[in-house]
Symmetry: C2
Subunit: 436 residues, 2 copies
C-alpha cells in the first residue's frame, strides 16, 4: 500500500498470543473516490434535481466537511486535535480469533477488527469526533442528530462534550423505549435526547398525526434533526452514516487493519462487514478495495445486512431521499423506498431504508458483494463468538460474524477472513436475553 502514513508502523510482538496493535494512529483518511474507475453519481438538490452546490449544504454542515463530501483527493490529512482524541482508543485492536477457529474446526485464519474499545463502544466516534471538531472550528455551538440503537447519538454526545458543543438527539422511538441506557449515556455526556417522532418539530408532529403509535425510523428522526438545524444559524446537523465524508472518517479502521495484517505477513482473502447505512463497512473495506484497484490484489468484500431491512440485496438502485419527509438531498443508492418502515429488529443501527451512495456505487461496479442474514442466525453467531472470544458483539456486528462463520465452516483452505466487529453489545444485552 502506498500511503503517507509512514508512522503507521506495526509492532506485532504479541502476534503469537492473538492481538496486534500498530504503533500509531493514521495521519490521513483514505478517499475511495480517488481510485474509482468511474465517479460516484452526485447528490441532487431535492427541488431542482441539479447536482448540489456547497451553498446547498451550508445550512447543515461546515465547509470543511462539504469539501470532503465531494473531494477526489486520495489522502486527506487528519487534524492533530482529532488524532489526539483518536489516540484515546486507537489504533483499535486486530485480534486473531484462535478460540473461534478451534471451535469451528476451520482451516481458515479468522481475524476481527474491534471497534468496541471506543468510549461509546462502537466505531461511530471515528466520525463524530471529526465532525464535532470541524463544526467547533467554524463557530457552530450546537449539533443536532438522529440515532437508532443509540450508538451514533452517544458518539456525537461524547464528541460534543470534548469540543464544547451542545448536542440534541432524536432517537428512534423503538430504541428509545427499549434501550434506556443509551439515553443515559448521552445525558452523562451532557446531551439532550428526545424520542422520535416528537412533538418538538413540524415533521415529528406530522408523523405522529399519521400514526400516533409509530415505532419511528431513522428516516423520521433525520427529518426532525435537520429541521431544527436549518432553523438556527449557530446549529448544524451531523449524520452518522451514509454520506461520503462519514465513510471517509471511518477509513482509519481499514487502514489500521491493512497495516496490522501486513505486519503479520497476512493478506485478507475476504472481509465481512455489517451494513446498515454503510459507514462501518465502508470504513473497513474501502482501503482494501482501493488497494485492489491500485495494486491488483483480490480481497473480497461481503456486506452483511439484515434480512428484515435488505437495501443492498433487495432494494432498487435509484435516487431517493435520505429521510422520510423529503428534506434531504436526493442520493443515488440502493433503497427500499424512503417510506419503508423496517420491523423493530434488535440491530437498530441497521434499520435504514437506504445505503451509502459510495457503497451502493461500489456494489454496482462489482467491487463488493452483499448477503442478507436472518436475525436468529445473527444472534446465534453472536453467542458463539461471545463464548469463544469473550466479546459480546453488538447486534449489528453479529451480522458480519454470521456471514464469516458460515464462510469459515465451509472453508477448505487456509484462507484469511477478517470480520469487522463494529462494536460491543453491552448495552444491547436485552436483545440477547430475548433471543436466549
Amino acid at each position: 500500500m502506498t500511503t503517507p502514513s509512514d508512522d503507521l508502523r506495526t509492532t506485532p510482538l504479541t502476534a503469537p498470543l492473538g492481538a496486534v496493535v500498530p504503533s500509531s494512529v493514521p495521519t490521513h483518511w483514505y478517499n475511495l473516490a480517488a481510485d474509482l474507475p468511474e465517479p460516484c453519481p452526485p447528490a441532487l438538490h431535492p427541488g431542482t434535481r441539479e447536482p448540489l452546490g456547497p451553498e446547498d449544504l451550508a445550512p447543515l454542515f461546515p465547509m470543511a466537511l462539504i469539501a470532503q463530501e465531494v473531494s477526489t483527493e486520495r489522502w486527506i490529512e487528519i487534524p492533530q486535535a482529532v488524532r489526539e482524541v483518536y489516540a484515546l482508543w486507537r489504533p483499535a485492536p486486530l485480534v486473531r480469533a484462535l478460540r473461534l477457529e478451534r471451535a469451528l474446526g476451520t482451516p481458515a485464519r479468522i481475524y476481527y477488527k474491534y471497534e468496541g474499545v471506543s468510549p461509546a463502544g462502537s466505531h461511530k466516534p471515528n466520525t463524530a469526533v471529526a465532525q464535532a471538531y470541524y463544526n467547533a472550528v467554524e463557530g457552530v455551538t450546537k449539533l443536532t442528530t438522529e440515532t437508532g440503537a443509540g450508538q451514533w447519538g452517544a458518539s456525537l454526545a461524547l464528541a460534543s462534550a470534548l469540543f464544547g458543543l451542545e448536542c440534541e438527539v432524536w432517537q428512534v422511538r423503538a430504541s428509545y423505549d427499549s434501550k434506556p441506557y443509551r439515553r443515559m449515556q448521552m445525558e452523562t455526556y451532557g446531551a439532550t435526547c428526545h424520542p422520535s417522532p416528537s412533538d418538538l418539530t413540524a415533521a415529528g408532529r406530522a408523523f405522529l398525526a399519521q400514526d400516533p403509535d409509530t415505532t419511528g425510523s431513522l428516516g423520521m428522526a433525520i427529518s426532525e434533526a435537520v429541521e431544527v438545524a436549518v432553523g438556527d444559524p449557530h446549529t448544524h446537523y451531523a449524520l452518522g452514516s451514509v454520506l461520503n465524508h462519514v465513510l471517509l472518517h471511518q477509513t482509519v479502521i481499514g487502514q489500521e487493519a491493512l497495516a496490522q495484517l501486513d505486519a503479520l505477513g497476512e493478506t485478507a482473502d475476504v472481509l465481512f462487514g455489517c451494513a446498515g447505512g454503510g459507514s462501518n463497512l465502508g470504513g473497513l473495506s474501502f482501503p482494501f478495495i482501493g488497494r485492489n484497484l491500485r495494486e491488483g490484489t483480490t480481497t473480497r468484500v461481503v456486506a452483511c445486512e439484515p434480512a428484515a431491512c435488505p437495501s443492498l440485496t433487495q432494494g432498487e438502485y435509484r435516487y431517493d431521499f435520505g429521510d422520510v419527509a423529503g428534506l434531504t438531498p436526493l442520493l443515488k443508492m440502493h433503497t427500499l423506498g424512503k417510506d419503508f418502515v423496517p420491523p423493530p429488529i434488535h440491530a437498530g443501527g441497521l434499520r435504514y431504508h437506504g445505503m451509502a451512495p459510495m457503497v451502493s456505487h461500489a456494489k454496482e461496479l462489482g467491487l463488493l458483494e452483499a448477503i442478507a442474514v436472518e436475525q436468529d442466525a445473527a444472534f446465534a453467531a453472536g453467542i458463539e463468538f461471545a463464548r469463544t472470544e469473550g466479546i459480546i458483539p453488538a447486534p449489528e456486528s453479529t451480522h458480519a460474524v454470521a456471514g464469516a462463520l458460515a464462510h469459515a465452516r465451509a472453508a477448505t483452505t487456509d484462507e484469511v477472513i477478517v470480520i469487522g466487529l463494529s462494536g460491543n453489545g453491552v448495552l444491547d444485552l436485552p436483545a440477547y436475553h430475548e433471543f436466549l
Copy 2:
C-alpha cells in the same frame, strides 16, 4: 525494575497523542509477599484458630491456587493458556489525561491505567481467567461465586465459558434488582445467576428468615456460593477479591503501568486506586510498592474507599470472617465487622465489610495510605472525567478519580499522578442518571 518479563517492552510511539501500549503481555505475576519487611499474618481455621493448611482450602480451591495463596516466590509464571486469553485485551492502555489536565489547570501530569477494555468491562477477568484455568486443569467442572455490582460474576461467567466450566453466581439482591444487564451478560456467557440471599441454600434461607426484605451483601452471597461448592466434589468456589492469589493475578495491571511509565521516562509520584475488597488497588500498586521496597523509589499509594463503607479508614485491624455466616477462614484485615450491611450505594463492588489482608498489612506497615470519598464527590469526578476523557468510569473507579482530582487541583509542581481506572460504567448508567 528487575523482572523476568523481559519481553515486556514498550513502544511509546503514540505518546505525543496520549495512549501508550506496551508490546507484550507480562509473563509472570508479581508477588509482594517476597518483598515485605514482615510477613502477612496467615489465614486461620475458623474452628481451631490455627493457621490454615492446604487441606483446609482443598474443598474450595484447586491446589495451584492454594499454593499461590501462601507462596513467597517473587515471580510466578503465567500459564500460556492464560496469557493467550489476556492477549485478547491486554496490555491494557495507559493514557495521558491531557484534556483533564487542561480542564483542571494543573501542573501535574495525569495518567490513567484503563482496565475497561476487557470483554467484561473491568479488571476482574485478570483473575477470573486464571482461576477458571487452574480449576479446569484440575478436573473441576463447575464454579460458584458471589457478585456485587456484577462485574465479578460477569468476569467469572466469561472465564468459565472460555474454559468449558459451568458457572453459578449469587448476586447481591440490591444489584440484582437495579442492574439487570449484568445478569443478562452472565447468561449470555452461559452462566446461571440468582439473587442473594436466595432460598437455594441453608445460609440464604437463614438470612431471609432474619430479614425477608434484606438488600443482601457480598458477605451473605459468599456464604451461599461457598455452601454450594463444599457440597459437591466437582464444584469449586472462586473469589473475585480479598485473597492473596486474586491480588497476585491482578499485578499484571501494575507491571504494565510501570513498564509503560518507564518507556515514557516517567516515574509515578502518587497512585490513586479504588478500594473495595482490594484487588484493583493491590494489582495496580503492589509492583510499585515492591519497587519502593527493593530500589528505594518513593511512589505514594492512596487507597480511595467509599465513605459509606470505610473499612481501611474506619475499620478495626483484626481477625474476622470473610462472610456473614462465618463459613470462611479468619482473615487478619481492616474490617467493619462481618455483620456490617453497607447502604446500597451505587459502587456495588466496594460494598464489602473487609479489606484484602495483603492490602491491610501494607497499610499497617505504612506502605500505602487511605482516604474515604463521599458518593456525590465520586460521581461529580466521574462526570468531569467522562466529559474530558470520554470514558464513563465505573462507580467504583470514580472514587480513585475523585481522589486524584482533588490532589491534582492542589498540585503546585509537575508531579506524576496515576489513576487506576478499574472499569467503565456503561452498565452502571442508571447510577449516573440518578446523580444527574
